[in-house]
Symmetry: C2
Subunit: 316 residues, 2 copies
């Protein structure tokens, strides 16, 4: 490919003039501008973006850290980010980590090596201290709350939402309530769920908490375990509508009616939940993603809380 020097030579001008017309700078005579443009068109020239970014010290590209690449919840967040990034003419890189702290750090390092202007963390597998040291290389925004002034946050008050959901179940008269989580207690989301549970129900019998639930199948299996117990729960709060759907299937298989024999409430208002008319708490992850992107732009490191919504359908 031709470079800017070739263009300059052919157009009979200097490289700066070429650069000026490429970047629409003023103070270029119309005649030269035309001349240069003609040569550019003739040679079908496109400026090398790497060279431009190298010198400009900016890539107009941000990364989105996600743990899995097959999880609806993270898709929703990503969609939110994409909604906004196209409007702002930014590119976005998807960075799956599988919750591997080392991999996550390598992603953050893309700020340091100048590949990325910012990164949005929809999940986190390192402690904040390790992460903070990267904030001097670019904008970091998290999809969870944190006090650190170097970090922007687009977050949901998960604790409140969990409390609400459990309260709802309690108000309906349930006392044997189980719940599932995606990960173990290394996850802050899991911790908050447990805390909220205890807040509402006091004790948490360990057998009422199952983790490592991600898919419909996981939900089915979890429900199997739960519903075969002697004092089986009368309500389950699932960590996602797909998981909830699996539970619903299982209950149906066992000839239990929902919500009479078993109440189910899911999360994230996903299609399968709508289809099965499952109640859900919608954390509005698309909005979270949109807000997260906006925060990478305005560099204020604001903390923005996104409201959640409980949607009551026929499973409670």
């Amino acid at each position: 490919m031709a470079n800017i020097i070739d263009i300059a030579k052919l157009a009979g001008v200097s490289v700066s003039t070429v650069s000026r017309v490429i970047n629409n700078h003023p103070y270029v005579s119309e005649s030269k501008r035309e001349m240069v443009q003609r040569v550019i068109d003739e040679l079908d020239f496109t400026p090398n973006r790497l060279a431009v970014d190298l010198i400009r010290k900016e890539t107009k590209c941000i990364g989105v850290i996600i743990p899995y690449n097959n999880n609806q919840a993270f898709d929703q967040l990503l969609h939110g980010v994409l909604n906004r990034s196209v409007e702002h003419d930014y590119s976005v890189m998807v960075l799956p980590t599988k919750y591997d702290p080392a991999k996550e750090l390598r992603c953050l390092n893309m700020l340091k090596n100048k590949q990325l202007d910012g990164v949005i963390m929809t999940s986190r597998s390192n402690d904040w201290n390790s992460i903070l040291s990267y904030s001097k290389y670019g904008t970091i925004v998290a999809c969870e709350f944190t006090d650190h002034p170097q970090i922007g946050c687009a977050y949901i008050d998960r604790y409140a939402s969990f409390v609400d959901a459990f309260q709802l179940l309690k108000d309906k008269g349930h006392s044997r309530v189980a719940f599932t989580t995606a990960r173990g207690e290394e996850s802050s989301s899991t911790q908050l769920t447990i805390k909220a549970y205890k807040q509402i129900f006091g004790e948490l019998s360990p057998m009422y908490h199952l983790n490592d639930c991600q898919t419909m199948d996981d939900g089915f299996i979890a429900a199997q375990r739960l519903l075969n117990m002697d004092s089986r729960p009368t309500a389950i709060y699932a960590n996602g509508d797909e998981v909830a759907a699996g539970m619903y299937q299982c209950a149906k298989n066992m000839n239990l009616s929902v919500p009479e024999d078993l109440a189910i409430i899911g999360q994230e208002n996903q299609p399968v939940g709508i289809g099965l008319s499952l109640s859900t708490v919608d954390h509005q992850l698309v909005k979270v993603g949109e807000q997260a992107f906006d925060l990478t732009m305005d560099r204020t490191n604001n903390k923005v809380k996104i409201p959640y919504q409980i949607i009551i359908r026929q499973s409670t």
Copy 2:
């Protein structure tokens, strides 16, 4: 941030030696290697990726062109791509186009400006001629079949799958069969569906084909129109399980039983279809995405057909 020259000075060696240790080249004395490494660690130095890529003429980054960023089918494709890209230590950029040809061209231009080594086109809004001219700048692989030797293809035999689905319905005794598509006849997928329909049923009454269906709501509305007709269809082939789910809801609302009064078959084997036990034709889009990535690597421009599967559940 320090650069390679700083490191060289502090370590008392030349920049080439520093470069050699960074890139694990042989022929560096252990003593110098250690010295350099110590300085690198001390200064917490990371090579600037833009500079490296600029000179190496390679970014280890590919782009995935998708039309919408809120469509499950394209999520599946993207997931497939990500599955493989992490294994190969490649980054991936998501490039939503909204089917805008100009935007699509700007994405392809990222090959020319050296930002991307390759791009996977899960959708296409330009004619092949416009696209082919970019293939000299990087690998282009399409998720549809094309003869062009410059293009790798990971594709499904959509025509065959449509024929199969319609045949299935015909075999079940349906003669009034309707179908929906995501777009109008500008889409090759729509064209193929129509062609397959005519192949099986001969005539296509225009009122049996509804387009612009994307979501569950779209499916609901489409079903409303279809089911309120005088000679209402006894079967509908939906262009996606979410759309099919909307139709299912509508049928239920009208007190029609599925499949007795209305057979429904969807596409892509999505959670909501599993939840509602809808029959579906699974085009295995995750595999398509995986294969597409593999094709960007091996540069053979092979044409790889991915088998589809029809999954019969209770809606047919």
